[in-house]
């Protein structure tokens, strides 16, 4: 009557588990990235498609080869690598030579991820390392932006803001929809907001990081804008332009490389925000999202260590 004895499994409680697992989480991120992907294809057409394909395919291939070589198993069936590839492509200019995109992806997957032990163990956000690597290696190609409307080479909105030389800033509406020059996946604020909302709804990301990140940038730029006498459009522009939304919703929130404590995440978001504004206004680059997140990745282990929650019951004894 009872099934055969050796079928019975004995193990520790619990015997129920959430249907949420790593592959479903990765799938959610891919779903959330779809609007931005569509926007990118719509605005940048073939060049963007090529860069995206090249990045995703090489990320996937690199992941498989690494897993083989290092004899590891992956719970995500390599979809985390697809995310890395996709996100990396999203922060590259559409005109980037494809071989450079491959190189950056390889660096991201091999050096930033698998040398550290693979999924879950890397310190730095692989996609961002890929971008920073490419920016430092090929600054010329990496700062060559095409405007999707006329196909001409123009500076990105933030570049124009920083240089303040001649070119006119595109209007806020264009920035919101995404018909401006910039990295493949960063231009459409609308698409990114949709994706971010989906991730929040699915509880795959904690509101604390994007919330404090965007909040800090907004507050600081509002103050700076106030000093400059610019008005409210200025902070809103800062929020929507460049890679801020992409970074805040998809990259700063990467589980692996952000703090695990709630307070840590708040500090992480604030730190990212401070650094973005610092780099955008005072630094050598027009855009600082990638660096700010990477720099906060560096601080994450310390944040985790010093922001542990008070354990339940660690209160003054009544006895």
């Amino acid at each position: 009557m009872i099934p055969q004895k050796d079928l019975i499994v004995v193990t520790s409680a619990p015997h129920l588990h959430s249907p949420d697992n790593v592959p479903t989480a990765m799938r959610d991120v891919l779903i959330a990235l779809t609007p931005a992907l569509l926007a990118a294809l719509y605005f940048f057409r073939l060049p963007a498609l090529l860069v995206i394909l090249v990045c995703v395919i090489s990320a996937y291939a690199a992941e498989i080869v690494c897993l083989k070589i290092m004899k590891r198993e992956s719970p995500t069936r390599e979809s985390s690598a697809i995310i890395t590839g996709l996100l990396l492509a999203f922060c590259l200019p559409p005109s980037l030579p494809l071989w450079m995109a491959v190189l950056g992806t390889l660096f991201a997957i091999v050096v930033a991820k698998h040398l550290f032990g693979g999924l879950g163990q890397n310190i730095f956000n692989p996609a961002l390392i890929g971008r920073a690597f490419l920016l430092a290696s090929f600054p010329v190609a990496m700062t060559n932006w095409t405007n999707p409307l006329d196909g001409l080479t123009t500076a990105s909105p933030l570049g124009i803001m920083k240089e303040a030389g001649g070119e006119v800033l595109p209007p806020l509406g264009e920035i919101f929809l995404g018909s401006v020059s910039g990295s493949i996946g960063e231009t459409s604020a609308l698409a990114l907001l949709l994706g971010g909302a989906y991730l929040l709804y699915r509880r795959q990301i904690d509101w604390r990081i994007p919330g404090t990140f965007l909040g800090t940038v907004f507050l600081l730029t509002a103050v700076i804008g106030g000093i400059k006498g610019e008005g409210l459009w200025y902070p809103v522009y800062h929020l929507c332009a460049g890679g801020l939304l992409l970074g805040a919703f998809f990259m700063a929130t990467d589980w692996v490389t952000s703090p695990v404590t709630k307070l840590g995440r708040i500090l992480f978001g604030i730190g990212c925000g401070l650094l973005v504004v610092l780099i955008r206004t005072k630094g050598g680059y027009p855009e600082g999202v990638a660096y700010s997140i990477l720099l906060m990745n560096v601080v994450t282990p310390l944040l985790d260590r010093y922001t542990k929650a008070r354990v339940f019951g660690r209160v003054k004894s009544h006895a």
Binding site: K5, D6, L7, V9, V10, T11, S12
Partner: protein, 293 residues
């Protein structure tokens, strides 16, 4: 030229004097022997000596609270070096030992009660009905010993039991302490015949659960020409035990044992046994990393 000589000389002299003065004035005695010992310690910081590391061991040697041979990984060469520094004689020669497993009940040989799922930790597995095996005395096969061996001498075999690389084993005792079933034992390499079962249940029960258990049949006892093996009382029952003092490694009991729970192996090749005490080649590579921390 003169300016250079004078000023540089002056700087030199001033600092020389200050240092000399400070060295005298603020001198703190450190036993130079401790430093000398530290230089020659294997540096694995394995803790086999029962102290928190090689540095502590060196201090303890100077303090006289341990003997050189307490450092198992060190081997005879080290004992001689220590003796040289301490100006003592090398203590009596100690035979090299290796850890051996006193259970042969791998998958297919011992009846299993259930399929264990969970962390690879023998104590964790034991928490459920004393482990997945019907025999309560054998190896739980979750490899806790494998995890603690600092010298990579243990691997988990295909039948689920740990396999010990006797050449790599330094007798550091870590696995012996770790094993919750206490079925790992340090055995001198010249003892070739071993009872590989600690099951003290009645023969019938033992046999029902495991095909390689000691079934208390006393055939070994009857056949031993040296009267070296006996089924002796242990726990709530009994089990065969070999008296190593009397055993001559003739191997008769191993040949006669109906369940083959006694076996005869020579853990190390003869050349290695002859060089007894040399540090095994694997393990501590004397990279010195441990010394800097």
């Amino acid at each position: 030229m003169l300016v250079a000589i004078l000023s540089l000389g002056a700087i030199g002299a001033v600092f020389g004097i200050i240092l000399g003065f400070a060295g005298k004035k603020f001198a703190v005695a450190v036993d130079p022997r401790v430093e000398a010992l530290l230089q020659i310690m294997p540096g694995a910081n394995c803790g086999a000596c029962g102290l928190p590391g090689c540095a502590a061991f060196a201090e303890a040697i100077v303090a006289g609270s341990v003997k050189p041979s307490d450092c198992a990984p060190g081997g005879a060469t080290l004992y001689e070096q220590i003796a040289a520094i301490m100006g003592t004689e090398v203590s009596a020669y100690e035979e090299r030992k290796v850890a051996q497993l006193l259970c042969q009940g791998g998958y297919g040989r011992t009846r299993m009660l259930y399929r264990y799922e969970g962390i690879k930790d023998c104590r964790a597995a034991l928490a459920n009905f004393k482990g997945p095996k019907a025999c309560d005395f054998g190896c739980v096969m979750q490899g806790s010993c494998f995890k603690v061996c600092p010298f990579g001498a243990i691997e988990m075999g295909a039948d689920g039991l740990p396999v010990i690389d006797y050449y790599r084993c330094t007798a550091c005792n870590k696995c012996v302490v770790e094993c919750p079933q206490q079925i790992l034992k340090l055995i001198g390499v010249s003892h070739l015949v071993t009872v590989r079962c600690l099951n003290t249940e009645k023969g019938k029960d033992a046999k029902a659960n495991c095909s390689v258990a000691c079934i208390k049949c006393k055939i070994c006892e009857k056949n031993c020409p040296e009267d070296a093996v006996h089924v002796v009382a242990a726990g709530e029952g009994s089990v065969a035990v070999i008296d190593v003092e009397k055993c001559t490694n003739c191997g008769i009991c191993a040949a006669k044992c109906p369940t083959k729970s006694i076996d005869m192996i020579s853990p190390l090749s003869e050349e290695v046994v002859l060089e007894i005490g040399t540090t095994p080649d694997a393990g501590c590579q004397a990279c010195g990393v441990c010394k800097t921390e």
